[in-house]
């Protein structure tokens, strides 16, 4: 029986350490994060959710820690090692043109001829890429010696699973695509149910929304 008391005593000590460490290291939930979470899950505002989240769950967790504290110690150590490695943070993948995206090798003159913008209301400069002519020139300034100009079209999936189509032109040197200039950048619809798709695109696709705000 003495072993059981020792086991539970260590469990209580572990609980105290884990609780203290949690209180010292936890980050305060910001107002904007709280709003975001409540927007995604309106149930968070309900009293029942708060009782479950703020009372029932912590009490159950405390009982579990005391009962199976070796597991809690293992989990905590694993979490600390993961943080140390920086593996916990998943960053957005950065788009880059790959060889399989290349379509056609072109000269600057060919590209500029096909990309002249015309508008009947004269609301765009009649130049290659219209209002983006300056950006195009800047892109050409970075053309490496011996570099080739290729058109490309790429289907790209972001870290959060949003599918996009990106097309344009890319500098290729020694067979390796480098800097690119976009002419089309749009979201591709999912194959799933259209209604659900639209709802998700509007409400749940935080990453997509952030991209649209990122100006």
């Amino acid at each position: 029986m003495i072993y059981v008391y020792w086991y539970l005593g260590i469990g209580v000590a572990v609980l105290a350490v884990v609780y203290g460490a949690h209180q010292l290291t936890k980050e305060k939930e910001s107002e904007s994060l709280r709003e975001l979470l409540e927007a995604v899950n309106p149930d968070r505002k309900k009293l029942s959710f708060r009782i479950l989240n703020n009372l029932v769950a912590p009490v159950l967790a405390a009982i579990l820690v005391v009962a199976v504290w070796p597991v809690a110690v293992y989990m905590k150590v694993k979490e600390m090692l993961k943080k140390k490695d920086g593996a916990g943070v998943e960053e957005e993948r950065e788009f880059a043109v790959e060889r399989q995206h290349l379509l056609e090798r072109l000269t600057v003159q060919e590209v500029e001829k096909r990309e002249v913008v015309t508008d009947p209301l004269k609301a765009a400069p009649e130049l290659p890429f219209g209002h983006l002519n300056g950006a195009w020139k800047q892109f050409l300034n970075g053309k490496p010696d011996g570099g080739e100009l290729w058109s490309f079209s790429a289907r790209w999936q972001t870290t959060w699973g949003r599918k996009e189509l990106r097309s344009g032109y890319v500098m290729v040197q020694n067979g390796a695509p480098g800097a690119h200039f976009l002419t089309v950048w749009k979201d591709l619809p999912e194959e799933a149910d259209a209604g659900e798709r639209a709802k998700r695109a509007r409400a749940g696709d935080v990453a997509g929304w952030l991209r649209r705000q990122a100006d």
Binding site: A39, A198, R202, A203, W209, D215
Partner: protein
């Protein structure tokens, strides 16, 4: 996060809310991108554009906002040689125009849902297709009609970190 103020679109003679930001793509593609000041949580992008469809082509015809240096922004701020009208040839994608009564209010981005969505599919600034999606019928007679933002926090000038409840 707060529901965002929509862009405005003159479509078939009506001024409607447009829940898409085509200027974002212009900036992302390398266009002139002045630093806008965000003066409230409902307008993180810092400006509101006015758009128009003429002969199936998308035009930007106005812009209001404030730059970080305190000066007012206009169309000429981004397009100095086209201060009245700009053809949005850079934009390819789908423009969403919510219609009818509100079904669900989502206090984030353009997340609120409405009885219908009119989608305009655009390729390089030109409408190539339009479609209407029916999302349901509002249960309440008193459900608000049209897109609106429920609440926001307005930042005092030179103090964007604080603010009251949104």
């Amino acid at each position: 996060m707060t529901a965002q103020i929509a862009e405005r679109l003159n479509y078939q003679g009506e001024d409607v809310a447009m829940c898409t930001n085509p200027l974002s793509d212009y900036f992302a593609m390398g266009g002139i991108n002045p630093r806008f000041e965000s003066n409230c949580t409902a307008l993180w992008r810092g400006y509101v554009g006015s758009w128009e469809i003429v002969d199936d082509r998308l035009y930007l015809i106005g812009l209001s906002g404030t730059l970080e240096n305190g000066t007012d922004a206009s169309l000429a701020t981004i397009f100095p040689e086209f201060p009245e009208r700009v053809f949005a040839h850079w934009y390819s994608g789908t423009i969403r125009l919510p219609q009818g009564k509100q079904l669900d209010y989502i206090h984030m981005g353009y997340g609120s849902t409405f009885e219908r969505d009119l989608f305009l599919d655009i390729e390089r600034g030109v409408i190539v297709a339009t479609r209407v999606q029916h999302n349901g019928v509002a249960e309440s007679e008193g459900a608000p009609e049209g897109y609106e933002v429920g609440a926001m926090t307005v930042f005092p000038r030179a103090d964007k970190g604080g603010g009251g409840a949104a």
